[in-house]
Amino acid sequence: MVAEHVDGKNMGPVVLYALSTCGWCAKTKDLLRELGVAFDYIFVDLLDGPEQNEAMDRVEKFNPSGSFPTLVIDNRKSIVGFREKEIREAFGT
């Protein structure tokens, strides 16, 4: 699966599942950049069929509603939606 990597401080695996057209996904991505955290993001709408299904299975594992943005931290914790306070807290800022 093609993930775009953004360089920054290594806080363990941080993956943002997003849509290329979604306003809140863009805000979440901007916030992660502002926090200087290293992360990968995947625009699920740009994946083709099988890859998109695979990505959705993964999103739903962390967020059963399958909504975006879903931010997965360290393969265990997830933050659904642009929850600025929670995201800042997760990265200790």
């Binding site: 849509l19 290329s20 057209t21 979604c22 306003g23 809140w24 996904c25 863009a26 699920v44 709408d45 998109q52 959705m56 739903e60 059963p64 509603s65 399958g66 909504s67 975006f68 659904v80 939606g81 642009f82 929850r83």
Partner: protein
């Protein structure tokens, strides 16, 4: 997939129409114009790649019959405006947010997840089969605008009557 870029003039034109339609229908757009224009860009991109304006904040299937509920304005807009003051994308907001008296907060997803989603025509069939055997078992209450008589079947009356612009408090439960 057609990936031709959506031009700024396309976005501006679509924004003007959306804004005019919103105002005429008694709805408010998010006061953050740049945010709204980004969503409009997403709507136009979806129109280009799917052939319909699917919600930019949800994953469309590309099959219109499966996505009818999320063609903007989506089936969930008015319930979300009622409960959260904003639609799922925060494209549409209530008056308090439009006037800058309250901030937008994340709106939880109301659309059923993939595994529980039939398509819209299946849902319609279920609704017809389930009733109505009498007026009291209609799937939605019917509201009447006391000013102009406009009727609508939905969970709550609209914020503003789309016909005569009377406020929500001028509606009465009709059925």
């Amino acid at each position: 997939m057609n990936t031709a870029a959506v031009s700024e003039s396309d976005v501006d034109r679509a924004y003007d129409i959306l804004k005019k339609d919103a105002v005429e229908g008694g709805y408010c757009l998010n006061p953050d114009t740049e945010f709204v224009k980004n969503l409009v860009r997403g709507l136009l991109k979806n129109e280009q790649r799917y052939g319909y304006r699917a919600c930019p904040c949800r994953l469309a299937s590309g099959k219109k019959e499966e996505d009818l509920d999320i063609v903007c304005p989506c089936d969930y807009r008015d319930s979300d405006l009622e409960d959260h003051g904003a639609c799922y994308c925060a494209l549409y907001v209530d008056e308090a947010i439009a006037d800058g008296n309250r901030d937008v907060a994340p709106v939880p997803e109301r659309r059923p997840p993939r595994s529980q989603r039939g398509n819209v025509s299946q849902r319609a069939v279920q609704m017809v089969q389930a009733g109505p055997s009498s007026l009291s078992s209609l799937p939605f209450p019917v509201w009447r605008c006391r000013v102009c008589g406009y009727l609508c079947a939905r969970e709550q009356p609209p914020g503003i009557c789309p016909v005569c612009k009377a406020k929500k408090d001028r509606f009465e439960r009709f059925i």
